[in-house]
Subunit: 322 residues, 2 copies
Amino acid sequence: MDVSKVVKEVLKKNEGNLKEIYFVACGGSLVDMYVADYFVKSEATKLVSGWYTANEFVHATPKKLGSSSVVILCSHGGNTPETVKAGEVAQKLGAQTIGLSHNKKAELLNVSDFTFLYEWGDETNVKNNPMAIILDLTVSLFNAVEQYEHYADFRDGVEKINTVISKAKKQVANRVKVFANKYGKEELFYILGSGPSFGHAYGFSICSLMEMQWLDAAAIHSGEYFHGPFEVTDKETPFILLMSEGRTRALDERAKVFLDQYAEKVEVVDSKELGLDTISDTVSEFFNPILFYSVLSEYREALAEIRQHPLDTRRYMGKVPY
Amino acid sequence: MDVSKVVKEVLKKNEGNLKEIYFVACGGSLVDMYVADYFVKSEATKLVSGWYTANEFVHATPKKLGSSSVVILCSHGGNTPETVKAGEVAQKLGAQTIGLSHNKKAELLNVSDFTFLYEWGDETNVKNNPMAIILDLTVSLFNAVEQYEHYADFRDGVEKINTVISKAKKQVANRVKVFANKYGKEELFYILGSGPSFGHAYGFSICSLMEMQWLDAAAIHSGEYFHGPFEVTDKETPFILLMSEGRTRALDERAKVFLDQYAEKVEVVDSKELGLDTISDTVSEFFNPILFYSVLSEYREALAEIRQHPLDTRRYMGKVPY
């Protein structure tokens, strides 16, 4: 489907009374929704949003959920039982549902009023991947309800981000090998990030490292780092710092100053240095995670190769009952 | 100050137009606010809430913040610069601020319209500690705005929780020693939890283990566990599972079934078994984290003792500039 068409139909169907947007999924799909939730929480004066792992949404359903709500659901394979169930719960309570999947036979589509079958893979334009579609849907719903003053800049960013990423990937081609050589034998990584990018600090930790590499990992919010977590910092512990372009950059910069002094195993991935500042300052921060996902995928590929642990190796997921 | 008096004055001052409650702090104080935010997100049909590490609130201030908002701030020592700054930002935008601290000379009090100087220490009744005060404030504000059908049950719970905890502490007195003996040489722990208790999975990880014991640690949401993190599960990796009483218990139970089969180093801390079910089912889930904090403090004390690493040892916090 088409974003602008869905926005029109959603608002028509609930007679212009859109109050809540819920983002509901599991694991990597939930990670992809983080920035859209951040956008609403930061920019909206009327709309509210919630970001839920699907099973919590099913069991402790927010009492606001109803005909004034739209629920965005995403499942790559399309049959994640908790996410399908969340769609059922949402529809039963009168909410409109928008489902995204890469699988055209997805069960999720049966509980979705509107559906997006998205593209996937290295050769696709990132604007057709779920993270960008969900962000676009959200910003466009917000624009329809509240009139977003930077909507034109945002649309321009959507068109530019794929080119930014292509260049950034070339820029890191060599450094990801250096990274993999240097850290290929480490068993744990801390991933720091803030603002729109905290979701991907979490995502790189749980999907790329824990799930795909069976490595220990944890996300730390750059702002929270100084209130507990930094006590584990030493010259032996590896940190990956996501430096975001935008309002929360000061938090990441503060973490960098500290890490420069007390840690030695630090990899900085800086979206500004990687070209995100070619997108208008008014909206560039919301594109950080789209850039980080693609760039960090290069890091994980290099790591997988040197560790001889292919990215699709699983011991439990899809293999045993749970 | 007194909760009911503050609730009255807040509503009087903004002429009954309370729309947003923001919870803003850092580290352990932020952890203490998690359940209050969870309460609003789950129970309210009108009120909305936000949970922010203070520096993110300062740099990416939500556009909703204004005269219809109340901002609850907490700093144990009272002078956390980011939290004080957040109070300034909130007041400047016309929001009312409620500040909690254990320090009667706290700078935070200068940016707080209402203040709570709370009690602290093993001998205090937990209802006078910040987590319970913040929850009580929140539930009482909600009750004043929307009429909470279980408010009487909640008030009853506030009076009962200290007794529940006293008994639970005795119940775990021996098992925390067994735990410390068994796991005293581990270098990493994963803490699982869901619903109202996810904040304390995070808190035990960043405060008790990382900050106070310099141990590696990460919180994992019990619902998210199956969507990536569980791939690190093996017989060598230690997990602490917080089993909550209430609606999200099914998520924790599912994690337990999996851990029982594939892990061997698993410590289950179960609020139901520890007596939380003596509080009415209608509200008991909101008391989980108050119980978990006190019980987990027994665990960390036993761990500190066996590791000969006192809980107040720091290498950076309050010792070097950052």
